[in-house]
Symmetry: C2
Subunit: 429 residues, 2 copies
């Protein structure tokens, strides 16, 4: 079996991964004299920053997913294959996938990141929920709702407490945004849906091993975010390392135990490298060492961009932050360098333009910083909405998300409280 | 374990099933002196007539599903339980569910219908797709898309034909609407998504054992629908009984075989009765015999409404059609009779008001008939859209569906071509 990619006179660029970086390359090399083959194990691009809204019933998966085949309709020199890459063999310039193999002239690894449970063994990590893709977000949505259904039937008060509590591990943007969304649900929606549950007893815990939330942001914004999250009734545990979880109780470093049937791990990601790379170029955290052209060290024509790439610089010895703008800018750099090469121009080195960062914490509240400007509150929140809507791929998704948010905002509601595929039973099997 | 339903001085009405009929009862008995307990195995009401649009990527599940807990917020005397009913015991007025048991004063069985494969054994029927609930519609969406992905990799022309063909068994409204939607996709969307597949070779087959499509409608409309479906390139097989299916090929009565990896069975439904009813009151097709008050024969306080009920009359010896309006009207009758009983008034008998029927066949084309008026074409299509939007539960769903349709109409697109949960691999395991 092979991938049935026609041979042309053009050089062939194989991109592994249709995330932010991968599609940026395809977009910029559209109509250029190169054959683009995009591989992804899903047939859609997923706008990961809004996964927490899918998990909390604010948006449907279709609002944050965009079909890659529809995207590729605009790229006449592009071909898409739904394929899972198994390994690469750089000596013969080949990618092995679950549907066959393909040769390349250029290869870009844009596989992003996966959850990093660090030293937790499988029997602990498998009891926690993740939120890195759409099925995981839908599982989380089902799981939380299933726990409420179970809680209201439970006579055992301790068990009930376990079922209604939610714990989030990791105080980065994902953890903070999720905590805010859950705090909003606790205040506005859940008491009406489940009048038999006393939601004043519901605890939302947010654990952060560092000394502050949103570690990358300015201390002023960190303080604001902390205040906002607390205002939503979230219990924030700073300087608190989670050391164990048995499915019912979290253990933190000082031995204290906190009950929660739902634990969402947002405390770490790691690169998602490909088998077949020289081991010395893959860091223990799964990121691949690249030079300032995003080329993988010791290779001729293999590149890595985005979360999976680690470009160590003097100011960033651990590489760039694992966020969408880096992936997009590295994708753009790679694409432009391919064009420069065609034209015999000198290649450019990567220079990251940090456009700032932002995080929302429930309705009307967000923090953002950009080019030395810091903002909080309502204006930051509107800016957050705007930036996220504009970053979505596809006109329909932009409209759907905007209208969904308008509806949710004015009704104080999130109507997608649907257990389409029950998860809990499967998990417990 | 029990359902933790508080005991009150009120009589308790237990409704099994939150479909069209079940929620109509709860709506009309809101604020009356009766305790309403609504049981459903899903936590949402599903607008089944639009499931085919979920399957074909035109709508998201959240647009046609409405959370039952949100619905019950409006019913102060109502309680919802996510529960699967296992059986009833009328001698002690008890319902047994997977989460415990509950007693009732009145019981209404509103469990609707399930797919009826008639005499096909499990090894045949399990190879066919169904479309009676949201997970099934999503599985069908995934399955069709997975088959196209596989088709373009296949060198074997015969296998490729199998993979791109789609067969629908049953020429009722569901089959006709699905055939129209698929015909539209074949013409407008699929060739752009899969430029490597020659969709002129794709065959959409619609098998109907009777002499015409839309058996319940006027012959003029039947002829129109047949023309519309054929205009979309669908191969219609009238008077054609499907006798076997092996996963690759359908066999029809005269022994002829038609290749298709996707076979969607819409040729029959049957009542979905409850264990514990007197067997002589349950017909072989699963429908429960009721009198003109919807009361199950030989019972004092157990009722059945909608698809699962069969009220045999002189003009309708097989009972009423299994459609939403019957369920809604029977639910309304039951609710009003409960109120009449309270007030000591005489109970009313059920009288079905047939508001007519309609079916759409892709863009701009539909047939409808109501009160002796027959219409086809664009006006009928607009009427179809209007009636369906207005029948959806919830303002958000009305808006989402309207906008989704407007988008799809003007762009000739359906953007939800997403394989969120691959189905094929699981099916083949």
């Amino acid at each position: 079996m092979d991938l049935k990619i026609p041979s042309t006179n053009q050089k062939r660029l194989v991109i592994i991964g249709g995330g932010f970086g991968g599609i940026e390359i395809a977009r910029l090399l559209k109509n250029h004299d190169i054959q683009i083959v995009l591989l992804d194990k899903h047939n859609y691009h997923c706008f990961q920053p809004l996964l927490y809204q899918v998990a909390t019933g604010g948006l449907e998966p279709g609002s944050i997913a965009y079909p890659l085949r529809k995207f590729m309709q605009q790229i006449p020199n592009g071909i898409f294959r739904l394929a899972e890459v198994l390994s690469i063999d750089s000596s013969i310039q080949k990618v092995h996938t679950n549907i066959g193999e393909i040769t390349y002239d250029y290869l870009v690894i844009a596989t992003g990141s996966i959850t990093n449970f660090f030293k937790f063994p499988k029997e602990v990590s498998s009891k926690m929920m993740q939120m890195k893709d759409i099925p995981q977000a839908l599982n989380l949505r089902s799981f939380i709702l299933e726990n409420f259904e179970e809680a209201l039937l439970t006579y055992d008060e301790s068990k009930k407490q376990e079922l209604i509590n939610i714990a989030i591990v990791g105080g980065g943007p994902t953890g903070v945004e999720l905590a805010g969304a859950l705090g909003e649900m606790k205040n506005n929606i859940l008491p009406k849906d489940y009048p038999e549950i006393d939601f004043t007893k519901m605890q939302i815990h947010l654990f952060e091993s560092g000394a502050e939330l949103l570690g990358q942001m300015h201390p002023e914004n960190q303080a604001k975010a902390l205040k906002y999250v607390k205002d939503f009734g979230v219990n924030v545990w700073l300087n608190t390392m989670v050391t164990d979880y048995n499915g019912d109780e979290i253990t933190i470093k000082d031995g204290k135990k906190i009950k929660s049937e739902t634990v969402i791990w947002t405390a770490g990601v790691k690169g998602n490298p490909i088998i077949g790379l020289d081991a010395k170029n893959v860091l223990p955290n799964g990121r691949i060492l690249v030079d300032e052209f995003c080329k993988i060290k010791d290779t001729e024509n293999i590149y890595a961009i985005g979360d999976v790439a680690c470009m160590q610089t003097e100011t960033l010895p651990k590489g760039h932050p694992m966020v969408a703008p880096v992936a997009i800018q590295q994708g753009a750099l790679f694409a432009k360098n391919v064009i420069r090469k065609e034209k015999g121009k000198e290649l450019q080195k990567f220079k990251y333009t940090d456009k700032g960062s932002m995080a929302t914490v429930g309705r009307n509240k967000a923090v953002m910083e950009s080019n030395g400007i810091k903002m909080g509150g309502f204006i930051a929140w509107v800016a957050w909405l705007f930036v996220h809507v504009m970053s979505l791929v596809g006109f329909r998704n932009k409209i759907t998300v905007t209208l969904g948010w308008l509806y949710n905002y004015f009704t104080y509601d999130r109507t997608l409280r649907l257990i389409i595929r029950p998860f809990k039973h499967n998990k417990e099997d």
